[in-house]
Amino acid sequence: MTAKELQKRNNKAENLRVLQTEDEISAIAATIGAGYAGARSATATSGPGLALMAEMLGLGVMGEVPSVVFVSQRGGPSTGLPTKTEQSDLNLAVFGGAGDAQRIVLAPTNVDGCYRTAGKAFEMAEQYQTPVVVLLDLYLSNRYETVVLPDKNPFSRNLDKQMADGGAGYMRFADADDHISPRAIPGQEGGMHTVTGLEHNQLGKPSDLPENHEAMNAKRHLKLEAALRHPDFTICKRFGDEGPVDVGILGWGSTFGEILEAMFAAQDEGIRCSAMKVVMLSPLPKDQIAAFMDDCGTVLLPELNYEGQLANLISGALGRPVTKLTRSTGSPMQVEEILAEIRRLAQARAA
């Protein structure tokens, strides 16, 4: 959708503002500036744009400022294949930037999921005071599907934990039980503070004391664990046969459509199998994925990149092997390719 189409469609909302910036760095900077000032704000880009935004995402993490970035992946690296699809920006989305900068990364698998994930991304950015990256890919971004939208906007607003009135003894980065600090927005009496990309203490003043850096790193990471329990949001979901299966398939993004189709076909052939979509890629739902893998004789992970980025992420996080099925042809995965691999794994297990 062009900026003009977006503006025409959405300016029906009186307070919506659309800004075409000079570059991606400016786009994410203005998004974070608007988030700091209390607006719900988002920007959209592709892999190379996300690479430019990586430093600013780190500022969003360090300064605990809400923002949402929609990334429609294409073929890479560099300018790559600008008009072809790929799922190769997962590493960048999850890890990109300097330092220990964990953020929330979500990847819907179909158009209905895009709608729900977009709304939830704004909720999460606000509630956990962090950048949220929503990973799409060209094949998903350019797709049409018929979906039923709810009559009423199902998403919550004002999830921001706010500074108490008057701000007596206010500390912007006070570490609470849930590690989320009350936020003051410019214009609020008594909440004056400076947000900085420097490591800072609970007041927001620069501090490089050893124990402070350790504690603040912990705060910024631990607060995100609650996102795994975010209300009314599916962080991962299992389909197909229940209980122990011969072949389990993990998937993410648009490829999950082909995975489901291949799984149904394999079931028709008598292979016991099930599939799990992983929608939240950071923080990773390790417990659910591990429980799924416990049930699977062997685990396959088809994805559209050369290295097997989610397979590497999961096997690294859980210390368990995953069979990769990677394609970097610029085209969507073929159902037949996945089905052939499921058959091969099932036969190998039987033998």
């Binding site: 900077a29 000032a37 704000s41 410019p186 003043k205």
Partner: protein, 296 residues
């Protein structure tokens, strides 16, 4: 613009400084700047300008990048955002898009703003975002111990240019006048009263105001942009300078050997927020686009 020379008694001065209320804009954090740094004048000038214009602390936002100058927000009792190297203006733009009622002061040094951040300046200026943009120009990278900067003199010998710098200095005033800034002025840290007046004028202007502040780095530049040199070189703009005459302003800006102090250029035109609000109102009312269609 010579400062009046009349005796100042410490007791009277302290009473005046404590009494007028501008100190309430200064935070409890002591500045990290070196004694004698021109930035103290700017900090004092901003506090005094806020006080003069009765800007509530809660409605003032100071956004900065990285460098000595960009430490500024920590020293002020306002909202602040110490962002990334060079990214001051886009962050400030986002803040203003979200809430145009805030009084926005964006600050940075010559390295932060004209080297890594140079690409953002034309766009903030041409959009006429309602930002007061103060550039503290000391012609050197002070925080990293004295390397040559985009406004350093040609032939400058520094740790990063041990023989000499081959690069020609930028002319920020000419740049900003060309970019479409709607308020362009120059002040000098060695003339704090005039500096305060200029800061107040820049903040009072609705639109993108650019104030170039000549401010010596007393630690790393002992030969070029020193108080001794600037005291001799600076001059007032001609009494008959017309700030609505952009060519006259450009002509004055070319005279870098004798920098002129004062208001170079002033233009009244709608801000980014004005334009956005207008589009939103027309979209809500279902009024079609009135602009020039790219496809006819």
């Amino acid at each position: 613009m010579t400062e009046p020379l009349k005796p100042v008694y410490l007791e009277d001065k302290l009473k005046e400084v404590r009494g007028d209320g501008h100190l309430s804009y200064r935070s409890s954090s002591l500045p990290t700047w070196c004694p004698g740094c021109g930035y103290f004048s700017v900090a004092e000038g901003v506090a005094m300008a806020f006080n003069r214009l009765k800007v509530p602390s809660k409605d003032a936002v100071i956004v900065s990048g990285i460098g000595c100058a960009s430490r500024f927000p920590f020293f002020m009792e306002t909202y602040g955002f110490h962002t990334l190297h060079g990214r001051t203006l886009p962050v400030a733009t986002g803040v203003k898009v979200a809430n145009d009622k805030l009084t926005m002061v964006a600050v940075g040094g010559d390295g932060d703003d004209f080297a890594i951040g140079g690409g953002h300046i034309p766009h903030a200026a041409r959009r006429n975002v309602d930002i007061t943009y103060l550039v503290f120009d000391n012609g050197i990278y002070g925080l990293t111990k004295g390397q040559t900067s985009p406004t350093s003199v040609e032939g400058f010998v520094t740790p990063s240019t041990p023989y000499e710098s081959h690069d020609r200095p930028l002319n920020p005033l000419m740049m900003l006048l060309s970019y479409g800034a709607s308020w362009v002025g120059q002040a000098y840290a060695g003339q704090p009263h005039h500096l305060t007046d200029m800061i107040a004028g820049a903040i009072a202007h609705r639109g993108f105001s650019y104030l170039h502040i000549l401010s010596p780095c007393v630690t790393f530049d002992k030969t070029e942009m020193t108080y001794a040199n600037l005291n001799v070189r600076v001059r007032d703009l001609p009494a008959d300078h017309d700030p609505t005459d952009r060519m006259a302003a450009l002509e004055q800006a070319t005279r870098t050997g004798t920098p002129a102090l004062g208001l170079f250029y002033l233009e009244d035109r709608p801000t980014l927020a004005d334009g956005m609000a207008d589009i939103a109102a027309r979209a809500m009312a279902g009024i079609p686009a009135k602009g020039k269609k790219a496809r006819g």
